[in-house]
Amino acid sequence: MHDIPSFSFSRPARLEQPQAVRIEQIVDEAKNIKSFYFSLDADCKAGQFLMVWLPGVGMKPMAVSSQSGKLASITTAAVGSFSKRLFELKVGDRMGVQGPYGKPFDLDAGKSFVLVGGGYGTATMVFLADQLLAKNKKVTMICGARSKEYLLYTDRFKAMKMETLYCTDDGSFGRKGFVTQALKEALKEKPDCICTCGPEPMMKAVLGMAQEAKIRCQLSIERYMKCGIGICGSCCIDPTGERICTEGTVFDAKRAAALTEFGRYHRDGSATRHDF
Protein backbone atom coordinates (compact mmCIF):
# COMPACT_ATOMS: atom_id res chain seq x y z
CA MET A 1 0.00 0.00 0.00
CA HIS A 2 3.01 2.26 -0.19
CA ASP A 3 3.02 4.93 -2.77
CA ILE A 4 6.18 6.03 -0.98
CA PRO A 5 9.22 3.74 -1.05
CA SER A 6 9.45 2.22 2.40
CA PHE A 7 13.10 1.16 2.27
CA SER A 8 12.60 -1.84 4.43
CA PHE A 9 15.70 -3.73 5.42
CA SER A 10 16.04 -7.00 7.23
CA ARG A 11 16.66 -6.39 10.85
CA PRO A 12 19.22 -8.58 12.63
CA ALA A 13 17.13 -11.34 14.15
CA ARG A 14 19.51 -11.92 17.02
CA LEU A 15 19.70 -9.64 20.01
CA GLU A 16 23.32 -8.79 20.72
CA GLN A 17 23.14 -9.49 24.40
CA PRO A 18 24.91 -12.09 26.52
CA GLN A 19 22.90 -15.19 27.25
CA ALA A 20 23.34 -17.12 30.46
CA VAL A 21 25.01 -20.47 29.79
CA ARG A 22 26.00 -23.19 32.23
CA ILE A 23 29.55 -24.54 32.24
CA GLU A 24 29.35 -28.24 31.46
CA GLN A 25 33.02 -29.19 31.55
CA ILE A 26 36.41 -27.66 32.31
CA VAL A 27 39.63 -29.10 30.85
CA ASP A 28 43.15 -28.23 32.03
CA GLU A 29 44.96 -27.80 28.74
CA ALA A 30 48.37 -26.61 29.83
CA LYS A 31 50.03 -24.42 32.39
CA ASN A 32 47.55 -21.59 33.07
CA ILE A 33 45.38 -22.60 30.16
CA LYS A 34 41.92 -24.10 30.50
CA SER A 35 39.06 -24.91 28.18
CA PHE A 36 35.48 -24.22 29.23
CA TYR A 37 32.67 -26.20 27.60
CA PHE A 38 29.05 -24.99 27.53
CA SER A 39 26.01 -25.51 25.37
CA LEU A 40 25.55 -22.93 22.68
CA ASP A 41 22.56 -22.56 20.39
CA ALA A 42 24.46 -21.10 17.42
CA ASP A 43 26.78 -22.36 14.69
CA CYS A 44 30.37 -21.20 15.09
CA LYS A 45 33.07 -21.21 12.46
CA ALA A 46 36.83 -21.21 12.97
CA GLY A 47 38.16 -17.66 13.21
CA GLN A 48 35.05 -16.45 14.99
CA PHE A 49 34.94 -15.38 18.60
CA LEU A 50 32.45 -15.09 21.42
CA MET A 51 32.08 -12.27 23.94
CA VAL A 52 32.29 -13.84 27.39
CA TRP A 53 30.67 -11.95 30.26
CA LEU A 54 31.41 -12.29 33.95
CA PRO A 55 29.02 -9.89 35.72
CA GLY A 56 30.92 -7.37 37.82
CA VAL A 57 34.21 -8.32 36.17
CA GLY A 58 34.04 -7.65 32.46
CA MET A 59 33.35 -9.04 29.04
CA LYS A 60 36.14 -10.18 26.73
CA PRO A 61 36.46 -11.67 23.27
CA MET A 62 37.45 -15.34 23.23
CA ALA A 63 38.02 -17.49 20.18
CA VAL A 64 35.82 -20.53 19.72
CA SER A 65 38.09 -23.55 20.28
CA SER A 66 35.58 -26.29 19.46
CA GLN A 67 32.00 -27.01 18.70
CA SER A 68 30.34 -30.36 18.50
CA GLY A 69 26.57 -30.28 18.25
CA LYS A 70 25.44 -27.80 20.86
CA LEU A 71 28.58 -28.13 22.96
CA ALA A 72 31.10 -25.38 22.30
CA SER A 73 34.26 -24.31 24.09
CA ILE A 74 36.65 -21.46 24.63
CA THR A 75 40.26 -21.86 25.74
CA THR A 76 41.63 -19.21 28.04
CA ALA A 77 45.08 -18.24 29.23
CA ALA A 78 45.18 -16.81 32.74
CA VAL A 79 46.90 -13.48 32.31
CA GLY A 80 44.94 -10.73 34.01
CA SER A 81 41.92 -9.86 36.11
CA PHE A 82 39.28 -11.22 33.75
CA SER A 83 40.88 -14.52 32.86
CA LYS A 84 41.86 -15.19 36.45
CA ARG A 85 38.26 -14.75 37.59
CA LEU A 86 37.12 -17.03 34.80
CA PHE A 87 39.49 -19.66 36.19
CA GLU A 88 37.62 -19.59 39.50
CA LEU A 89 34.44 -20.88 37.85
CA LYS A 90 33.37 -24.48 38.39
CA VAL A 91 31.26 -26.89 36.41
CA GLY A 92 27.61 -25.89 36.89
CA ASP A 93 28.44 -22.20 37.28
CA ARG A 94 27.03 -19.74 34.85
CA MET A 95 28.52 -17.08 32.65
CA GLY A 96 27.26 -14.87 29.85
CA VAL A 97 28.11 -15.65 26.24
CA GLN A 98 27.32 -13.54 23.19
CA GLY A 99 28.04 -14.14 19.55
CA PRO A 100 29.69 -15.67 17.58
CA TYR A 101 31.16 -12.74 15.70
CA GLY A 102 33.66 -12.11 12.95
CA LYS A 103 34.39 -13.38 9.47
CA PRO A 104 35.74 -16.94 9.61
CA PHE A 105 38.48 -18.71 7.67
CA ASP A 106 37.73 -19.72 4.11
CA LEU A 107 37.74 -23.53 4.24
CA ASP A 108 37.70 -23.76 0.46
CA ALA A 109 41.00 -22.02 -0.12
CA GLY A 110 42.58 -25.24 -1.34
CA LYS A 111 43.02 -28.94 -0.65
CA SER A 112 46.07 -28.92 1.62
CA PHE A 113 46.53 -26.56 4.55
CA VAL A 114 49.34 -25.76 6.94
CA LEU A 115 48.12 -24.30 10.23
CA VAL A 116 50.46 -22.31 12.45
CA GLY A 117 49.38 -21.60 16.00
CA GLY A 118 51.10 -19.92 18.91
CA GLY A 119 49.87 -19.35 22.47
CA TYR A 120 46.09 -19.33 22.81
CA GLY A 121 45.95 -18.65 19.07
CA THR A 122 46.18 -22.43 18.86
CA ALA A 123 42.56 -22.47 20.04
CA THR A 124 41.48 -21.05 16.71
CA MET A 125 43.81 -23.43 14.83
CA VAL A 126 42.54 -26.61 16.46
CA PHE A 127 38.95 -25.66 15.70
CA LEU A 128 39.98 -24.82 12.14
CA ALA A 129 41.66 -28.22 11.85
CA ASP A 130 38.40 -29.85 13.01
CA GLN A 131 36.47 -28.07 10.32
CA LEU A 132 39.03 -28.67 7.55
CA LEU A 133 39.27 -32.38 8.34
CA ALA A 134 35.50 -32.64 8.26
CA LYS A 135 35.80 -31.39 4.68
CA ASN A 136 38.48 -34.00 3.91
CA LYS A 137 41.28 -31.49 3.55
CA LYS A 138 44.89 -32.39 4.16
CA VAL A 139 46.08 -30.60 7.30
CA THR A 140 49.53 -30.08 8.81
CA MET A 141 49.50 -28.46 12.23
CA ILE A 142 52.47 -26.51 13.59
CA CYS A 143 52.31 -25.49 17.23
CA GLY A 144 54.74 -23.33 19.09
CA ALA A 145 55.15 -22.65 22.79
CA ARG A 146 57.83 -21.61 25.26
CA SER A 147 58.15 -25.11 26.63
CA LYS A 148 56.36 -28.43 26.90
CA GLU A 149 54.05 -27.39 29.71
CA TYR A 150 52.58 -24.60 27.59
CA LEU A 151 51.70 -26.80 24.63
CA LEU A 152 48.00 -27.07 24.00
CA TYR A 153 45.66 -29.85 22.89
CA THR A 154 48.33 -32.53 22.57
CA ASP A 155 45.73 -35.23 23.24
CA ARG A 156 43.17 -33.69 20.90
CA PHE A 157 45.77 -33.45 18.14
CA LYS A 158 46.78 -37.08 18.58
CA ALA A 159 43.25 -38.21 17.82
CA MET A 160 43.07 -36.15 14.63
CA LYS A 161 44.02 -37.42 11.17
CA MET A 162 46.82 -34.97 10.48
CA GLU A 163 50.50 -34.41 10.97
CA THR A 164 51.35 -32.25 13.98
CA LEU A 165 54.71 -30.56 14.45
CA TYR A 166 55.55 -29.18 17.89
CA CYS A 167 58.16 -26.50 18.45
CA THR A 168 59.32 -25.31 21.85
CA ASP A 169 61.73 -22.48 22.54
CA ASP A 170 63.66 -24.67 24.96
CA GLY A 171 63.35 -27.94 23.08
CA SER A 172 61.46 -29.59 25.91
CA PHE A 173 59.02 -31.15 23.40
CA GLY A 174 59.17 -31.53 19.61
CA ARG A 175 61.80 -29.50 17.89
CA LYS A 176 63.71 -26.71 19.52
CA GLY A 177 63.16 -23.33 17.93
CA PHE A 178 60.48 -21.22 16.37
CA VAL A 179 57.49 -22.34 14.35
CA THR A 180 58.96 -20.55 11.33
CA GLN A 181 61.62 -23.27 11.17
CA ALA A 182 58.99 -26.00 10.96
CA LEU A 183 56.94 -23.96 8.53
CA LYS A 184 59.92 -23.65 6.18
CA GLU A 185 60.07 -27.42 5.92
CA ALA A 186 56.33 -27.82 5.57
CA LEU A 187 56.30 -25.36 2.68
CA LYS A 188 58.45 -27.74 0.68
CA GLU A 189 55.34 -29.82 0.16
CA LYS A 190 53.71 -26.81 -1.51
CA PRO A 191 50.47 -26.61 0.49
CA ASP A 192 47.61 -24.62 -1.03
CA CYS A 193 47.10 -22.38 1.96
CA ILE A 194 48.66 -21.33 5.25
CA CYS A 195 46.44 -20.30 8.15
CA THR A 196 47.77 -18.72 11.28
CA CYS A 197 46.74 -17.31 14.63
CA GLY A 198 48.99 -16.33 17.49
CA PRO A 199 51.34 -13.59 18.68
CA GLU A 200 51.52 -10.85 16.07
CA PRO A 201 55.30 -10.98 15.51
CA MET A 202 54.91 -14.69 14.77
CA MET A 203 52.05 -14.05 12.35
CA LYS A 204 54.03 -11.31 10.68
CA ALA A 205 56.90 -13.75 10.06
CA VAL A 206 54.50 -16.36 8.72
CA LEU A 207 52.92 -13.79 6.40
CA GLY A 208 56.36 -12.86 5.05
CA MET A 209 57.24 -16.47 4.33
CA ALA A 210 53.90 -17.11 2.63
CA GLN A 211 54.27 -14.07 0.40
CA GLU A 212 57.79 -15.05 -0.52
CA ALA A 213 56.73 -18.59 -1.32
CA LYS A 214 53.66 -17.23 -3.14
CA ILE A 215 51.34 -19.44 -1.12
CA ARG A 216 47.92 -18.26 -0.12
CA CYS A 217 47.72 -17.18 3.52
CA GLN A 218 44.93 -16.35 5.96
CA LEU A 219 45.53 -14.68 9.31
CA SER A 220 43.21 -14.24 12.28
CA ILE A 221 44.07 -10.85 13.79
CA GLU A 222 43.24 -9.55 17.26
CA ARG A 223 42.68 -6.03 18.49
CA TYR A 224 41.19 -4.58 21.63
CA MET A 225 37.45 -5.21 21.47
CA LYS A 226 34.58 -3.76 23.42
CA CYS A 227 31.41 -4.30 21.44
CA GLY A 228 32.27 -7.07 18.99
CA ILE A 229 29.55 -5.76 16.69
CA GLY A 230 31.25 -3.00 14.74
CA ILE A 231 30.07 0.03 16.68
CA CYS A 232 32.63 1.14 19.26
CA GLY A 233 35.59 1.35 16.90
CA SER A 234 38.13 0.09 19.43
CA CYS A 235 39.23 -2.65 17.02
CA CYS A 236 39.66 -0.37 13.99
CA ILE A 237 43.07 -0.86 12.43
CA ASP A 238 45.30 1.56 10.52
CA PRO A 239 45.28 2.74 7.81
CA THR A 240 41.99 1.38 6.42
CA GLY A 241 39.96 1.70 9.61
CA GLU A 242 38.55 -1.77 9.05
CA ARG A 243 36.96 -3.29 12.15
CA ILE A 244 38.70 -6.52 13.18
CA CYS A 245 35.46 -7.70 14.84
CA THR A 246 33.46 -7.29 11.64
CA GLU A 247 35.68 -7.05 8.55
CA GLY A 248 37.99 -9.53 10.42
CA THR A 249 39.09 -11.47 12.30
CA VAL A 250 40.39 -13.31 9.24
CA PHE A 251 42.35 -11.39 6.60
CA ASP A 252 44.08 -12.77 3.56
CA ALA A 253 47.73 -11.94 2.91
CA LYS A 254 47.07 -9.03 0.61
CA ARG A 255 44.65 -7.25 2.93
CA ALA A 256 46.85 -7.98 5.95
CA ALA A 257 49.97 -6.66 4.22
CA ALA A 258 48.15 -3.37 3.63
CA LEU A 259 47.67 -2.90 7.38
CA THR A 260 50.51 -0.57 8.32
CA GLU A 261 49.70 -1.13 11.97
CA PHE A 262 49.97 -4.93 11.79
CA GLY A 263 52.93 -6.27 13.73
CA ARG A 264 53.93 -2.77 14.80
CA TYR A 265 51.45 -1.35 17.28
CA HIS A 266 47.95 -1.70 18.66
CA ARG A 267 45.56 0.38 20.79
CA ASP A 268 44.05 -0.19 24.23
CA GLY A 269 40.50 0.47 25.41
CA SER A 270 41.08 4.25 25.44
CA ALA A 271 42.52 4.13 21.89
CA THR A 272 45.99 4.92 23.25
CA ARG A 273 48.72 3.43 21.04
CA HIS A 274 51.17 0.80 22.25
CA ASP A 275 54.02 -0.69 20.26
CA PHE A 276 54.34 -4.48 20.18
Binding site: P5, G96, R273
Partner: protein
Protein backbone atom coordinates in the same frame (compact mmCIF):
# COMPACT_ATOMS: atom_id res chain seq x y z
CA UNK B 1 18.92 11.64 -10.24
CA UNK B 2 18.04 14.29 -7.66
CA UNK B 3 20.79 16.54 -6.34
CA UNK B 4 21.37 15.53 -2.73
CA UNK B 5 24.32 17.82 -2.03
CA UNK B 6 23.98 20.31 0.79
CA UNK B 7 25.86 23.23 2.30
CA UNK B 8 26.08 23.29 6.06
CA UNK B 9 28.11 25.81 8.09
CA UNK B 10 30.25 26.54 5.08
CA UNK B 11 30.97 22.84 4.55
CA UNK B 12 30.06 21.36 1.20
CA UNK B 13 28.61 17.89 1.72
CA UNK B 14 28.03 15.43 -1.11
CA UNK B 15 24.99 14.14 0.79
CA UNK B 16 23.24 14.97 4.07
CA UNK B 17 24.45 11.93 6.07
CA UNK B 18 26.98 12.53 8.84
CA UNK B 19 28.74 9.87 10.90
CA UNK B 20 27.59 10.50 14.49
CA UNK B 21 30.16 10.93 17.25
CA UNK B 22 31.29 7.83 19.14
CA UNK B 23 30.32 5.26 16.56
CA UNK B 24 33.84 4.26 15.62
CA UNK B 25 35.71 7.61 15.38
CA UNK B 26 38.57 7.39 17.88
CA UNK B 27 41.10 7.23 15.07
CA UNK B 28 41.58 9.01 11.79
CA UNK B 29 41.44 5.68 9.99
CA UNK B 30 38.07 4.84 11.50
CA UNK B 31 36.39 8.04 10.32
CA UNK B 32 38.08 7.60 6.93
CA UNK B 33 36.40 4.18 6.76
CA UNK B 34 32.96 5.79 7.18
CA UNK B 35 33.88 8.38 4.55
CA UNK B 36 34.94 5.59 2.20
CA UNK B 37 31.48 4.10 2.72
CA UNK B 38 29.61 7.20 1.72
CA UNK B 39 29.28 9.55 4.70
CA UNK B 40 28.82 13.17 3.64
CA UNK B 41 30.79 14.28 6.70
CA UNK B 42 32.21 12.49 9.72
CA UNK B 43 32.40 13.29 13.41
CA UNK B 44 35.20 12.03 15.64
CA UNK B 45 34.48 10.40 18.98
CA UNK B 46 34.34 13.00 21.73
CA UNK B 47 37.68 13.92 23.29
CA UNK B 48 38.17 14.84 26.95
CA UNK B 49 40.98 16.64 28.78
CA UNK B 50 42.64 13.47 30.05
CA UNK B 51 42.79 9.91 28.85
CA UNK B 52 39.73 7.90 29.93
CA UNK B 53 39.20 4.16 29.91
CA UNK B 54 35.45 4.58 30.28
CA UNK B 55 33.24 1.88 31.74
CA UNK B 56 34.31 -1.74 31.90
CA UNK B 57 32.74 -4.03 29.33
CA UNK B 58 29.86 -4.75 28.52
CA UNK B 59 29.46 -1.26 27.17
CA UNK B 60 27.22 -1.80 24.13
CA UNK B 61 24.29 -4.18 23.68
CA UNK B 62 21.17 -4.27 21.57
CA UNK B 63 17.54 -4.97 22.33
CA UNK B 64 14.67 -5.53 19.94
CA UNK B 65 13.99 -1.82 19.53
CA UNK B 66 17.50 -0.40 19.42
CA UNK B 67 20.81 -0.17 21.22
CA UNK B 68 22.01 0.64 24.72
CA UNK B 69 25.48 2.00 25.37
CA UNK B 70 27.47 3.12 28.35
CA UNK B 71 30.94 3.53 26.92
CA UNK B 72 31.78 6.42 29.22
CA UNK B 73 33.83 8.62 26.90
CA UNK B 74 36.83 6.35 26.60
CA UNK B 75 39.45 8.28 24.65
CA UNK B 76 43.20 8.85 24.70
CA UNK B 77 42.94 12.42 25.96
CA UNK B 78 43.25 15.78 24.23
CA UNK B 79 46.99 15.71 23.56
CA UNK B 80 47.04 12.30 21.90
CA UNK B 81 43.87 13.12 19.96
CA UNK B 82 45.48 16.31 18.67
CA UNK B 83 48.26 14.17 17.21
CA UNK B 84 45.84 11.58 15.81
CA UNK B 85 43.86 14.21 13.92
CA UNK B 86 46.70 16.60 13.06
CA UNK B 87 46.56 15.86 9.35
CA UNK B 88 43.22 15.12 7.72
CA UNK B 89 44.24 15.86 4.15
CA UNK B 90 43.56 12.34 2.92
CA UNK B 91 39.97 12.27 4.19
CA UNK B 92 37.71 13.31 1.29
CA UNK B 93 34.90 14.79 3.41
CA UNK B 94 34.67 17.39 6.18
CA UNK B 95 35.71 16.12 9.60
CA UNK B 96 33.91 17.49 12.64
CA UNK B 97 35.85 17.51 15.91
CA UNK B 98 33.99 16.60 19.06
CA UNK B 99 34.97 17.56 22.58
CA UNK B 100 33.44 17.34 26.01
CA UNK B 101 34.28 17.80 29.67
CA UNK B 102 33.04 17.95 33.20
CA UNK B 103 33.73 21.65 33.73
CA UNK B 104 33.66 24.67 31.42
CA UNK B 105 37.46 24.98 31.78
CA UNK B 106 37.87 21.45 30.48
CA UNK B 107 35.87 22.22 27.34
CA UNK B 108 38.07 25.26 26.80
CA UNK B 109 41.25 23.28 27.44
CA UNK B 110 40.36 20.57 24.93
CA UNK B 111 39.39 23.22 22.38
CA UNK B 112 42.81 24.79 22.79
CA UNK B 113 44.55 21.47 22.37
CA UNK B 114 42.63 20.64 19.20
CA UNK B 115 43.26 24.06 17.63
CA UNK B 116 45.87 22.69 15.28
CA UNK B 117 43.58 20.04 13.80
CA UNK B 118 42.01 20.93 10.45
CA UNK B 119 38.43 20.25 11.53
CA UNK B 120 35.58 21.81 9.58
CA UNK B 121 33.54 22.41 12.72
CA UNK B 122 33.53 21.61 16.43
CA UNK B 123 30.72 19.72 18.14
CA UNK B 124 30.10 19.56 21.88
CA UNK B 125 27.72 17.08 23.49
CA UNK B 126 26.12 18.56 26.62
CA UNK B 127 23.86 15.60 26.70
CA UNK B 128 25.38 12.19 27.50
CA UNK B 129 22.80 10.50 29.76
CA UNK B 130 25.00 7.89 31.44
CA UNK B 131 28.50 9.17 32.27
CA UNK B 132 28.88 10.60 35.79
CA UNK B 133 30.24 14.14 35.68
CA UNK B 134 29.17 14.71 32.08
CA UNK B 135 26.05 15.69 30.15
CA UNK B 136 22.67 15.26 31.81
CA UNK B 137 24.19 13.62 34.87
CA UNK B 138 26.00 16.92 35.49
CA UNK B 139 23.14 19.21 34.50
CA UNK B 140 24.94 20.42 31.37
CA UNK B 141 21.67 20.15 29.46
CA UNK B 142 19.99 23.01 31.29
CA UNK B 143 19.60 26.28 29.36
CA UNK B 144 21.94 28.02 31.83
CA UNK B 145 24.80 25.51 31.63
CA UNK B 146 24.36 25.25 27.86
CA UNK B 147 24.78 28.99 27.58
CA UNK B 148 27.86 29.14 29.79
CA UNK B 149 29.75 26.30 28.13
CA UNK B 150 28.82 27.36 24.60
CA UNK B 151 29.94 30.95 25.19
CA UNK B 152 33.29 29.83 26.54
CA UNK B 153 34.07 27.49 23.66
CA UNK B 154 32.81 29.85 20.95
CA UNK B 155 35.26 32.45 22.28
CA UNK B 156 38.10 30.00 21.87
CA UNK B 157 37.72 29.10 18.19
CA UNK B 158 36.90 30.52 14.80
CA UNK B 159 35.27 27.28 13.74
CA UNK B 160 31.49 26.98 13.82
CA UNK B 161 30.42 25.34 17.07
CA UNK B 162 27.65 22.72 17.02
CA UNK B 163 25.93 22.12 20.34
CA UNK B 164 24.55 18.63 20.79
CA UNK B 165 21.43 18.44 22.93
CA UNK B 166 19.67 15.77 24.92
CA UNK B 167 16.18 14.60 23.91
CA UNK B 168 15.21 14.00 27.53
CA UNK B 169 14.13 17.60 28.19
CA UNK B 170 10.55 18.26 27.16
CA UNK B 171 11.14 22.04 26.82
CA UNK B 172 13.94 21.40 24.35
CA UNK B 173 13.31 24.66 22.48
CA UNK B 174 14.48 26.64 25.50
CA UNK B 175 17.82 24.85 25.48
CA UNK B 176 18.26 25.36 21.76
CA UNK B 177 17.52 29.04 22.14
CA UNK B 178 20.11 29.31 24.91
CA UNK B 179 22.70 27.71 22.66
CA UNK B 180 21.81 30.00 19.77
CA UNK B 181 22.07 33.08 21.95
CA UNK B 182 25.45 31.97 23.23
CA UNK B 183 26.83 31.81 19.72
CA UNK B 184 26.27 28.23 18.61
CA UNK B 185 26.38 27.91 14.82
CA UNK B 186 24.15 24.83 14.74
CA UNK B 187 22.27 22.37 16.92
CA UNK B 188 22.81 18.64 16.78
CA UNK B 189 19.53 17.14 17.99
CA UNK B 190 20.76 14.95 19.45
CA UNK B 191 22.21 12.49 21.81
CA UNK B 192 20.91 9.18 23.16
CA UNK B 193 17.85 9.05 25.42
CA UNK B 194 17.22 7.43 28.75
CA UNK B 195 19.30 6.06 30.20
CA UNK B 196 17.82 2.59 30.00
CA UNK B 197 18.65 -0.74 31.53
CA UNK B 198 18.58 -4.35 30.38
CA UNK B 199 18.72 -7.08 33.00
CA UNK B 200 19.90 -10.56 32.16
CA UNK B 201 17.34 -12.72 33.90
CA UNK B 202 19.58 -15.80 33.99
CA UNK B 203 22.48 -14.03 35.66
CA UNK B 204 20.19 -11.59 37.52
CA UNK B 205 22.28 -8.52 36.72
CA UNK B 206 22.07 -5.39 34.59
CA UNK B 207 24.12 -6.24 31.52
CA UNK B 208 25.94 -2.93 31.07
CA UNK B 209 28.71 -2.51 33.61
CA UNK B 210 27.55 1.10 33.95
CA UNK B 211 24.14 -0.48 34.77
CA UNK B 212 22.27 2.10 32.63
CA UNK B 213 23.07 3.35 29.15
CA UNK B 214 21.90 5.72 26.45
CA UNK B 215 19.17 4.50 24.11
CA UNK B 216 19.83 4.85 20.38
CA UNK B 217 18.44 3.40 17.19
CA UNK B 218 14.79 2.95 16.14
CA UNK B 219 13.49 3.37 19.70
CA UNK B 220 14.90 6.90 19.72
CA UNK B 221 13.73 8.20 16.37
CA UNK B 222 10.22 9.55 17.18
CA UNK B 223 11.66 11.35 20.21
CA UNK B 224 14.45 12.91 18.15
CA UNK B 225 12.07 13.88 15.34
CA UNK B 226 9.76 15.60 17.82
CA UNK B 227 12.70 17.52 19.30
CA UNK B 228 13.89 18.63 15.86
CA UNK B 229 10.33 19.75 15.07
CA UNK B 230 10.14 21.79 18.27
CA UNK B 231 13.57 23.37 17.81
CA UNK B 232 12.92 24.30 14.19
CA UNK B 233 10.16 26.57 15.39
CA UNK B 234 12.42 28.22 17.97
CA UNK B 235 15.81 28.92 16.37
CA UNK B 236 17.24 30.14 13.08
CA UNK B 237 20.53 28.21 13.11
CA UNK B 238 20.67 24.91 11.23
CA UNK B 239 19.81 21.60 12.88
CA UNK B 240 21.47 18.22 12.41
CA UNK B 241 18.86 15.57 13.15
CA UNK B 242 20.37 12.55 14.90
CA UNK B 243 18.64 9.55 16.43
CA UNK B 244 17.46 6.33 14.89
CA UNK B 245 17.90 7.23 11.25
CA UNK B 246 17.96 3.85 9.51
CA UNK B 247 16.56 4.51 6.04
CA UNK B 248 16.10 7.24 3.48
CA UNK B 249 12.55 7.67 4.65
CA UNK B 250 13.75 8.17 8.23
CA UNK B 251 16.23 10.79 7.01
CA UNK B 252 13.47 12.61 5.13
CA UNK B 253 11.31 12.58 8.26
CA UNK B 254 14.15 14.42 10.01
CA UNK B 255 14.47 16.90 7.13
CA UNK B 256 10.75 17.56 7.04
CA UNK B 257 10.80 18.11 10.80
CA UNK B 258 13.37 20.82 10.19
CA UNK B 259 16.85 19.27 10.04
CA UNK B 260 19.29 20.22 7.26
CA UNK B 261 21.37 17.07 7.66
CA UNK B 262 21.16 13.80 9.60
CA UNK B 263 23.54 12.05 11.96
CA UNK B 264 23.82 8.28 11.65
CA UNK B 265 25.30 5.94 14.23
CA UNK B 266 23.41 2.85 15.32
CA UNK B 267 22.21 2.14 11.78
CA UNK B 268 25.72 0.90 11.06
CA UNK B 269 24.80 -2.12 13.15
CA UNK B 270 21.50 -2.67 11.37
CA UNK B 271 22.58 -2.04 7.80
CA UNK B 272 26.38 -2.17 7.68
CA UNK B 273 29.10 0.48 7.41
CA UNK B 274 27.83 1.42 3.94
CA UNK B 275 24.55 2.61 5.41
CA UNK B 276 25.62 6.11 4.33
CA UNK B 277 25.60 5.06 0.69
CA UNK B 278 22.32 3.22 1.13
CA UNK B 279 20.50 6.07 2.85
CA UNK B 280 21.82 8.59 0.31
CA UNK B 281 20.55 6.46 -2.54
CA UNK B 282 17.17 6.07 -0.90
CA UNK B 283 16.88 9.83 -0.35
CA UNK B 284 17.58 10.42 -4.03
CA UNK B 285 15.05 7.76 -5.01
CA UNK B 286 12.38 9.38 -2.86
CA UNK B 287 13.14 12.80 -4.33
CA UNK B 288 12.94 11.52 -7.86
CA UNK B 289 9.64 9.83 -7.20
CA UNK B 290 8.10 12.77 -5.38
CA UNK B 291 9.56 15.44 -7.62
CA UNK B 292 11.91 17.25 -5.27
CA UNK B 293 14.98 18.79 -6.87
CA UNK B 294 16.95 19.77 -3.78
CA UNK B 295 17.24 18.76 -0.15
CA UNK B 296 16.32 22.32 0.82
CA UNK B 297 12.80 21.92 -0.53
CA UNK B 298 12.13 19.26 2.07
CA UNK B 299 13.62 21.00 5.11
CA UNK B 300 10.83 21.92 7.50
CA UNK B 301 8.13 20.80 5.05
CA UNK B 302 6.05 19.25 7.84
CA UNK B 303 5.50 22.70 9.34
CA UNK B 304 3.59 24.07 6.36
Amino acid sequence: MADIRIELLGMKLRNPTILASGIVGSTKASVAFAAANGAGAVTIKSVTRDRRDGFANPTIITFEAGMLNAVGYSNPGAKQAAMEFADLSDIPVPVIGSLTGTKTEDFVYVMQQLKGCPFAAIEMPLSCPHTPGFGTMAGQHSPEATKEITKAVVKETKLPVIVKLSPVIQEIADVAKAAEKAGAAAINMGNTAGPGMIINTGLKKPVLSGTAGGISGPALRPLAVRCVYDIYKAVKIPIIGTGGVMTGNDAIEMLMAGAQAVGIGTAIHYRGIDVFNKVSKEIAQFMDQEGYRSIKEMVGAAHA
